[in-house]
């Protein structure tokens, strides 16, 4: 095992250089990604309202085609709600392997135009093409090429925003959807932002939006003109960031795959096929989740000190509780015991629908082997199990207690990454 993943090449100086001058950033956002792919591989679905749902027994709509959206189908609806909104809705169980495969192919296309590709989610990415403009004849040509190749290779469409930074690129890629292309030059950023409603900015959610509206701020122009000192007083450091966001100023660099900052939290959650109301059942899932979290914590060479447990009940209410341990842990069973301790402090008035376990307060612990024999055995065992899973897949080994459950397929998380700590091995 290498000390430093090979993707950690020595790129720090290059990143700095990029910050200095004018940049050209593409934000590529796939249109109704999962649904488009299903339509692309199954011509019978083309032009029809479809919704992609999880492959589990009980699930919600992950995404839907534009035809379905027109009828009022929204992401997050249950299948029943979707059917009520659009009676001829076709439900398609998700196929994670297919989406990951498509995502990887799309990223490969982008990487033909620049090495600086930042994966934002499974269906969104940023590409810094500053250094390759002359090579390929300008940003518009690159954008059209990428759109054409994705359309030819995968038979799906995407919308592209071209701007001097990530913030504006992401903002404008959403302006014309589907199959859009919006280009904004540095000079056009100011006028564009002036009339832009604040909620359009990635990072301003409905809650923050409400607070800002309370201050009489409706557009980015309003926000940009608002005294920074007042914003700072109200929101702290975020206040200053808001000011710059409103002006369309964003200096954050593209972070290519493998160069992301260390994860701040690593977690996993799972909706059960049936509501669980017995302790034993919950503990089995907890064991399963702890093993998944442990594996990812170790993959990131981390240990965590704070464990967070989230419980969602059958009526969709839920609560989370965290506990900070005196020393960092990284082994599956340690995580399980810590999570079980938190679970024991939560009153369970209703059957449980979902459990989530995550670890925060991560410290980099490298790969120091323990000296004392008991700990050393545990450490080597965990790493041996990880090695086997690396080779044969995550389901090859599990605690006997949890083994019946480990076969349940889940819907892929939108935060999926092709590499790094976020990687979940797809089924």
């Amino acid at each position: 095992m290498a000390l430093i993943p090979p993707t950690h090449s020595f790129t720090a100086p290059r990143r700095m250089a990029r910050l200095a001058g004018d940049r050209t950033i593409l934000h590529i956002d796939m249109d109704a990604f999962f649904a488009s792919i299903e339509q692309a591989v199954n011509p019978a679905l083309v032009g029809k309202p479809i919704a992609v749902i999880g492959s589990k027994k009980r699930t919600v709509i992950v995404t839907s085609s534009y035809e379905a959206r027109k009828k009022g189908v929204k992401t997050g609806m249950t299948a029943g709600e979707g059917m009520r909104a659009c009676p001829d809705l076709i439900l398609v169980p998700g196929n994670n392997r297919r989406y990951i495969d498509a995502s990887v192919r799309i990223l490969a296309i982008m990487r033909d135009y620049s090495p600086d590709v930042e994966v934002f989610s499974i269906d969104e990415a940023f590409v810094d093409v500053t250094g390759s403009l002359r090579l390929f004849g300008g940003a518009e040509r690159i954008a059209r090429e990428i759109k054409r190749r994705i359309s030819e290779d995968l038979n799906i469409t995407c919308s592209v925003g071209v701007a001097p930074n990530k913030l504006v690129a992401k903002l404008v890629s959403g302006l014309k959807k589907p199959d859009g292309l919006t280009i904004v030059t540095q000079d056009e950023v100011g006028p564009l932002m002036d009339g832009m409603p604040i909620e359009e900015i990635c990072g301003i959610g409905s809650r923050l939006g409400k607070v800002l509206k309370g201050l009489g701020i409706v557009t980015c122009g309003d926000l940009g003109r608002y005294p920074v000192s007042v914003l700072k007083g109200k929101f702290g450091v975020t206040g200053e960031r808001l000011h710059y966001m409103a002006l369309g100023v964003d200096e954050t660099p593209i972070v290519p795959i493998g160069q992301e900052d260390a994860a701040k939290s690593i977690g996993h959650s799972m909706t059960f096929p049936y509501d669980v109301d017995d302790q034993q059942g919950m503990h089995r899932y907890l064991l399963l989740l702890s093993a998944k979290v442990g594996r990812r914590v170790r993959k990131a060479h981390c240990s965590g000190r704070t464990i967070y447990l989230y419980v969602r009940f059958s009526d969709f209410t839920g609560l989370g509780r965290r506990h900070t341990l005196p020393k960092p842990i990284r082994l599956d069973l340690d995580i399980y015991h810590a999570a079980a301790d938190v679970l024991s402090t939560i009153e369970i008035p209703l059957p449980v629908r979902l459990l989530g376990v995550s670890m925060t307060n991560l410290v980099y612990s490298g790969s120091q082997l323990p000296l004392l024999s008991g700990e050393r055995r545990e450490f080597l065992l965990a790493h041996a199990v990880d090695d086997i899973k690396d080779r044969y897949g995550d389901d090859i080994l599990s605690q006997a207690e949890a083994s019946d459950w480990s076969q349940e397929a889940g819907v892929i998380s939108p935060a999926w990454r092709p590499q790094g700590t976020r990687r979940v091995d797809p089924k």
């Binding site: 000390l3 950690h8 082997l369 004392l372």
Partner: protein, 373 residues
């Protein structure tokens, strides 16, 4: 309560208390020192309930009594008073303490001396004596390996036990933090009331205070185990430390026996090379890699943000080539605690504990666990 005392006298007494008083003062009185006056004897005490010190200093007593005031403030006040000044102390109502020296007058808020936790006084004579140089050497070679984590309570001190080696008796000190271990044996005559094969764990803080006291004088210290305390006495100074109440792990299990790859290297060269190479080791891990081949050891490091480093050291080695990674800080701790010119490293493979010992002396050695490379 009233007395006069020369600045240097009381300053020395207060200095000894500074690292004992509680920094995170959840109990306010623990950040204070206790001053007690009987006749011409001024006793200064401090404790954090685990380690306590009590020492008596000569002064010109005027009226006996006791008071406790904030240890840091009193020390700072006394420290800033010019050399050679005689300081006048007067306890006033409500435990106020007035300090006057030359034209300066200070009034410190105090607390009632009755509320100050007692530092245990030994009930009997010392049970054994120890030479300060010997004891300090043993502390120096072990204390760095003590665990820093509060959680691993049984590793939070140095384990002391008595080894019966035929007729000879040895005192052994062992420390480990779960990644590395130090062990030192010293010949010893006399009777230490620690039962064979059942040692005591002495807290790190107590030992580091003891080490400071040992530096002060050539005089042997008397020691006594009483209840759950180790009591160290020298003249009218008493240092008390509460033993760690835990079971020290079976360290014998982790001492490697079959390490067949033996490398000899100059300690000075080795330290300097590791210091240079580790500049570029990944900050969070501090790992340096060693590639060992006959006569040459190549030491490398890499950091994703900074770059790489590589250096070769001449060694005596005749086995097969092998690679292994270690935390450079652990290695530097170990090498820094040694005093031989030549060190011997014995290894088995890249994931088994390594052993580092002086080439000649036999009394001590270190075990270090590698990092996965």
């Amino acid at each position: 309560m009233e007395w006069n005392i020369e600045k240097e006298y009381i300053l020395r007494g207060l200095a000894r208390t500074q690292s004992i008083v509680e920094k995170k003062n959840t109990i306010q009185i623990l950040s204070n020192v206790l001053l007690k006056l009987t006749g011409n004897d001024l006793t200064i005490e401090a404790t954090d309930l685990e380690v306590g010190i009590s020492a008596t200093y000569e002064c010109e007593g005027i009226a006996p009594g006791g008071v406790t005031v904030d240890a840091k403030t009193l020390y700072e006040v006394v420290r800033q008073i010019p050399e050679g000044t005689v300081i006048h102390f007067l306890k006033k109502e409500n435990n106020w303490l007035e300090i006057s020296a030359g034209r300066s007058v200070f009034n410190l808020v105090g607390l009632a001396p009755e509320d100050f936790p007692e530092v245990p006084v030994p009930e009997g004579e010392s049970q054994w004596n120890m030479d300060p140089d010997l004891l300090n050497g043993m502390i120096e070679k072990t204390i760095f390996a003590v665990s820093q984590e509060d959680m691993r309570y049984n590793l939070s001190g140095v384990y002391i036990e008595i080894i019966q080696d035929g007729k000879a008796k040895k005192i052994r000190m062992v420390a480990t933090d779960g990644h590395r271990l130090s062990l030192i044996d010293s010949d010893f005559e006399g009777d230490i009331p620690i039962p064979a094969s059942q040692g005591v764990i002495v807290p790190k803080k107590g030992l580091s205070e003891l080490s400071k006291l040992l530096d002060e004088s050539e005089q042997a210290v008397g020691m006594r185990l009483e209840g759950n305390n180790l009591i160290v006495k020298r003249d009218c100074l008493t240092l008390v430390m509460r033993l760690v109440d835990g079971r020290f792990p079976d360290y014998r299990q982790v001492i490697p026996a079959g390490n067949d790859k033996e490398i000899s290297v100059s300690r000075e060269d080795f330290i300097k090379t590791i210091r240079r190479v580790s500049i570029l080791s990944y900050e969070r891990v501090k790992m340096v890699k060693f590639h060992i081949s006959p006569s040459i050891m190549e030491i490398t490091s890499e950091s994703p943000d900074m770059g790489t480093a590589r250096e070769e050291v001449t060694v005596q080695y005749e086995g097969p080539e092998m690679s292994i990674g270690f935390n450079s800080n652990y290695l530097l701790d170990i090498l820094g605690a040694m005093d031989d010119q030549e060190v011997v490293i014995r290894l088995l493979d890249e994931s088994s504990p390594g052993e580092i010992r002086p080439a000649k002396e036999k009394g001590y050695f270190f075990i270090i666990m590698p990092m996965k490379i």
